[in-house]
Every structure is written in C-alpha cells, then in structure tokens.
Amino acid sequence: MTDRRDLIAGTVLGDLTHEEMAEANAMGLRQDELYAMEIAAAATLVAEVRDDAMPPALRARLEPPRDKSNQVVALRPKRDVWRAMGWLAAAACLAFAITSIVRPWSNKTPDARAQRDQLTHVADAQVLPWTATADPAATGAKGDVVWSNAEQKGFMRFSGLSQNDPAATQYQLWIFDGDRDDKFPVDGGVFDVTSGGDVVVPIKAKLKVGKPVLFAVTVERPGGVVVSKRERIVVTAKAGG
C-alpha cells in the first residue's frame, strides 16, 4: 500500500499510476492536503528560479489601460483583453523596433562591456581566466569570466573563440555548484560567437548558484540542452577556493 504522503505528492505532480489513483480515491485525499503540497511545489519554484526580465511586448499586452489612473478596471475575459490591448502591444513592438534600428549595433557591446567592468568592482566578484581545451573551436581562445555570487550576475569575455553557425550549434555555459551534484551543473545560458574580436556575453544562470567552483563552455545543439553529454568542452575556468 502506498504511503498517503506519496499519493498526495503524486497527485500534485500528476504521476499517479492507475493503481495509485484507485488507492488515492479509496483513501479520500482532502483538498487541503493537496493544496499544502502544491504550496511546497510553488515554494521550490520561488526558491530555485531566478527572475527573468519579461519581454516589453508581453508586458505591454498584460498592462491595463492607462487612460484614467486609479480607476477600477473590470478584469475581462482573455480574448477581450487581448483585443483591447492589441494596439498597445503593437505600439510597444514598434517602439522597440525603432529603438533597435536607430541605436547603432556598436553601442550594444560597450553596454555589456561596461557592465562587466562595473561588476569587477563588486566586493565578492571573481575574475577567472579561461583555459582552452584541445577542441578545435577553442584553438587560441582566451578571456575570462567575471562572477558575483552576491549579485548572481556574471559576464564571459572571449577572444579567439571560433565563430559558430547558430543554425548548427550554439555555445552553452555550465556553472558547477559546490552545493549541487557535479553531474548536474547549473545552465548558464546559450550564446553565439558570430563576429571576430573580443566578445562579452552576459551569463544567464537558470537557477540560483550556491558555491560556484567551475565554469565550463560546451558546444551543443541549437537552443542548448538540459543535461550536457560534455562531448565538446571548449573552455573552463576554475573558481578560487
């Protein structure tokens, strides 16, 4: 007979077998028990997932109309909301597109570069040099990774790392965390190197990093992977103890 807590967890996770469903029905699991387990699942999300900036167009679609502040708005059904807000989304997209066109591309790199340089002044920031492996893409690759654990923020800098074809492969960063099994490093985001010269790439850690011990960049399929087979590791940087 399955433990009651197991059945509650299985119900919330949606992984009950037919036999377990029958057991759960016979046992009469209560809504309050299920809700408490759901809260636990939601708390793990809040504990583990880092905030990501929402795309401006999406944010615009969710915004209530701005015509009269402090006016109470009706929370309309989905389709009406989208229809009503469509023009706002379009306006946001247009503004974003115009900004992108008007702003010279060259301005983007210094932004990341300036942020990287700024981060090096944070008290706990570590600047770790890359060590290239024997992988052909890494021949002559140099650079470093800057990481602040307090800010959960970092940047990678490369020179000489081979350009990739984003349709065929992408680079992916992995952060090995002393608080986690080294079989499952934290995904630090995928990125491309599509131009020569120095490249600065912001790190997008998908989970909170406890004690970073090693940063490693692999070559993966487009979009990246959840767990790397580590067949092509191009550079690594060891964190100081």
Partner: protein, 176 residues
Amino acid sequence: MNQEPMLLPQVAQGNPDAIRACLDRYGGLVWGIARRFFGASPDAEDAVQDAFLDLWRSAGRYDPRVSSEAVFVALIARRRFIDRRRRGARRLDTEPLPEAQAAPSQTTAEQVTEAKLAERAMQELRPEQRQVLVLSTCHGMSHEEISQATGMPLGTVKAHVRRGLVRVREVLGVQR
C-alpha cells in the same frame, strides 16, 4: 522583517495600479518559470498571459495566512503551465480552498521566509534527489524526460521527486 505591501487584495478589486505593480513585482518570476517550462518556444508568452489572467481572477482567493504572495503567484503559474504542457491529460484537481477550510499555521514573519525554508529543505536533499526535483518542479519535465536526461531509472526518478517534495512540505510545515 517584512515587508512589501500586499498587492493581491487590490488586484482582486480591479485596481489598475495594483495590477501594474503586480506585473512589476512578479512578472520576472512568472516569466522565469515559463522560460524553464517552455524554453524559447512562443508557448512561453501565451502561458504567461494565461497565468496572469488566472491570477487576476484568483487574486481574491489569496490568503496571506497560508502563503506569501510570491508563492501564491508561483502556484497559479505552475498550474497553468502544467495544464498547457499536459493538455489533453487529466487536469489536476487543485481549486483553491474555500475560506472556511483555511487553517493558518504560519505567523506573518514566517510567511516571508518560506522560499528560504524551501531552499533549506532542498539543500538537505541528496544532490541527485534535489536535481530531479528541480527538473520536475522548475522545468516541468516529465519523469520519462528526466530519466532520459539523467540516466536514472524511471522508478528512482519518481521516488526522488515525490520524497523531495514531501520533504519540502514537511520543512515548510504547511498544515491545512
């Protein structure tokens, strides 16, 4: 030790400023969860829209004695994202409780630390147990997908996820 002002009661009243503030405060969280469930798929944006619309509708059911707002928001988002991923499959029977059943167990000060408690519970888990729980709850991966990605037997994955979640619940001490 807290605390930002609560927004959901005002959201429930349809206050547009509260809705904007809610998007400011929790938009990054919901989008972050969506990105883990759906990656770069266009589904992520649709799922976030669903989640917030559901949140606007459900805001009146939020009970600050039971969870923080952030956890309530994550709970709503998780439901919508699971629904979207498992469309066609059995839906979770997870309607919020009526008021009468809400039996608070946490003090106000404790509410704001529940994510930290969950984090502590996660730290207590064995690394492989923690990893599969993260892949399940934070990435929305099925046990089969986790088994394929990690090489762990399916039964082990299932046991790790369930026991891990039960442990987090015990540490949180949510008594309903």
